[in-house]
């Protein structure tokens, strides 16, 4: 291992960090909203909503993310200009759709963990369903949602590297370019691994913090 080389290439790879982070951030925003909607649909009294949500989860969790990214980037444009997206946006769409399928299950498990008796108490007190969801269910289910939710987030963080195949210049692509031009693979890949480890470790710490904040007082 050539440490001097590592030092030399680190700034170059880090140039892709902001793209990796914004891929991750946007995907988390959209997949959380999407996951919440899917979870509520899955728990809905309206059967077609439940069917759609179940079908979506089955489909998106059943095919490789790589295929989803290819589909968004290469296949969708064949349906016309309205369906043609630049690489970064395509990656956000693919990652969000994929992550949403997993987040919906995490969120759903949190919602159903809240005892039905509390819903009855809230109803008997005249609360609206929205208020019940926001003030009673949400704070309690966060505790249940956070561990699987963070697990999914960590996966999405790592999978941003797949965006490289649809030419998004995130860190993996920059590392690959170094390999191609310098004919050295150990150092770029090592550097890349360390950066990803730091990012995913930060998420684990964030999880512990949120869990502490929402622990039930006994």
């Amino acid at each position: 291992m050539d440490w001097e080389f590592v030092r030399e290439i680190t700034p170059t790879i880090l140039e892709g960090l902001s793209i990796t982070l914004s891929l991750f951030a946007w995907s988390m925003v959209f997949s959380t909203i999407g996951g919440l909607v899917l979870a509520l649909m899955r728990l809905s009294r309206i059967a077609p909503f439940r069917w759609f949500s179940a079908f979506y989860g089955w489909l998106l969790r059943g095919i490789p993310l790589l295929l989803i990214l290819f589909y968004v980037f290469f296949a969708l444009p064949e349906f016309g200009d309205a369906w043609t997206f630049p690489p970064f946006r395509s990656a956000v769409i693919g990652l969000s759709m994929w992550t949403a399928a997993y987040q919906s299950e995490a969120i759903r498990s949190g919602i159903i963990s809240v005892d039905a008796g509390q819903f009855e108490a809230a109803e008997a007190l005249g609360m609206t369903r929205f208020h019940y969801m926001r003030k009673i269910v949400l704070p309690q289910s966060v505790r249940i949602i956070v561990p699987p939710f963070t697990g999914n987030a960590i996966n999405t963080m790592k999978q941003t590297s797949l965006a490289t195949v649809i030419t998004v210049p995130e860190m993996t692509l920059l590392a690959q370019r170094i390999i191609a031009s310098e004919f050295k693979a150990v150092e770029p890949l090592f550097t890349l691994a360390i950066i990803f480890l730091i990012l995913t470790t930060a998420l684990v710490f964030a999880q512990a913090g949120v869990e502490r904040a929402f622990r039930l007082k006994t």
Partner: protein, 315 residues
């Protein structure tokens, strides 16, 4: 006096099982009505229908002059709008067997949440009132405690205070002492008795015959989804007219305090006695009885789970 709660011909079935077969009930303001009856008689369902936690299949419910549900000419039940239902629910305080406090909120927050959210009461005012209510149920020192830090009896008293914070016209109590330890039931019953003395209108589904006898103005005995007989507490409890009432009361008194399978204490009661059996130095009999007891306890747990599932089809 015009009744504040007026129920006629109330019907409800769960999956083909008819639970209520046409209940008529009128409650006057300030009246305390106690509903007693065996497990599965439908007494809890009546209470839950009153604020539409269960939607009746037939009949009419009127609370304080507002119609909650009504059968039309074709026999189809029409319900009040969501908004109207919420407004009527504000008039009905409900206290549950399992307290159903919000575990992530302190006692004080549990009490202030609904007045602030539903009635738009300002926080300072809601908190002042909540503290008064906590004091009246003897829990002012527990204001900042969370439900899981309190005993069952204390949680239930907070739950009563939470309902009272909405200034209900009628309080509904659903077997409120059934999931607390027997020695803690007294403190809940005391709070209820005081409420009754203050003139609160109350409908109390209970296994506490003592409470029914002391506090209720009227006692209803229900069986198989019907009101079998009703009258003053003295009349129904001491001089029942119907055989079913007689046999129920007989069973309750004979087996007291185990009125209902869900009320069986979870702590072993029998083994204490077994251990004192004389002339059994090697404890063989104790062992045998204990294994029988363990088996029975398993069966009891299974039955209890089954009952709970029936009671709450969503779980």
């Amino acid at each position: 006096m015009t009744p504040i709660v007026k129920v006629t011909g109330l019907k409800k079935s769960f999956g083909g099982l008819q639970i209520l077969n046409g209940i008529d009930l009128e409650v006057a303001p300030g009246e305390v009505v106690s509903i007693i009856g065996p497990s599965g008689s439908g007494k809890t369902t009546v209470l839950r229908c009153l604020n539409l936690l269960e939607r009746p299949d037939g009949g009419r419910i009127e609370v304080d002059g507002q119609v909650l549900c009504e059968e039309d000419a074709a026999g189809k039940v029409k319900f009040a709008s969501k908004r109207a239902t919420r407004e009527i629910r504000e008039e009905l305080g409900m206290v549950f067997q399992r307290f159903n406090l919000f575990p992530h909120m302190t006692a004080l927050e549990n009490i202030t949440e609904a007045p602030m959210a539903v009635k738009g009461v300002k926080r300072a005012k809601a908190e002042a009132k909540a503290r008064d209510l906590l004091e009246s149920v003897g829990l002012s020192h527990r204001a900042d405690h969370y439900p899981l830090q309190m005993s069952g009896g204390q949680q239930q008293r907070v739950a009563i205070a939470r309902s009272l914070a909405m200034d209900p016209a009628v309080m509904l109590f659903d077997e409120v002492t059934s999931s607390v330890d027997p020695e803690l039931a007294g403190e809940i019953l005391l709070v209820m008795k005081r409420l009754a003395d203050e003139g609160m209108t109350m409908i109390v589904v209970t296994h506490e015959m003592g409470f029914a006898a002391d506090v209720a103005d009227r006692v209803l005995f229900m069986d198989h989804g019907l009101v079998v007989e009703q009258g003053s507490a003295k009349q129904v409890l001491e001089d029942p007219q119907h055989d079913r009432t007689k046999s129920f009361l007989h069973a309750v008194r004979d087996r007291a305090p185990m009125e209902d399978v869900s009320d069986l204490p979870t702590e072993p009661v029998v083994s204490e006695h077994i251990e004192t059996i004389p002339n059994d130095p090697d404890g063989a009999k104790v062992e045998q009885l204990e294994s029988e007891l363990a088996k029975l306890r398993g069966e009891l747990d299974a039955t209890r789970r089954e009952l709970e599932q029936k009671r709450d089809p969503r779980s």
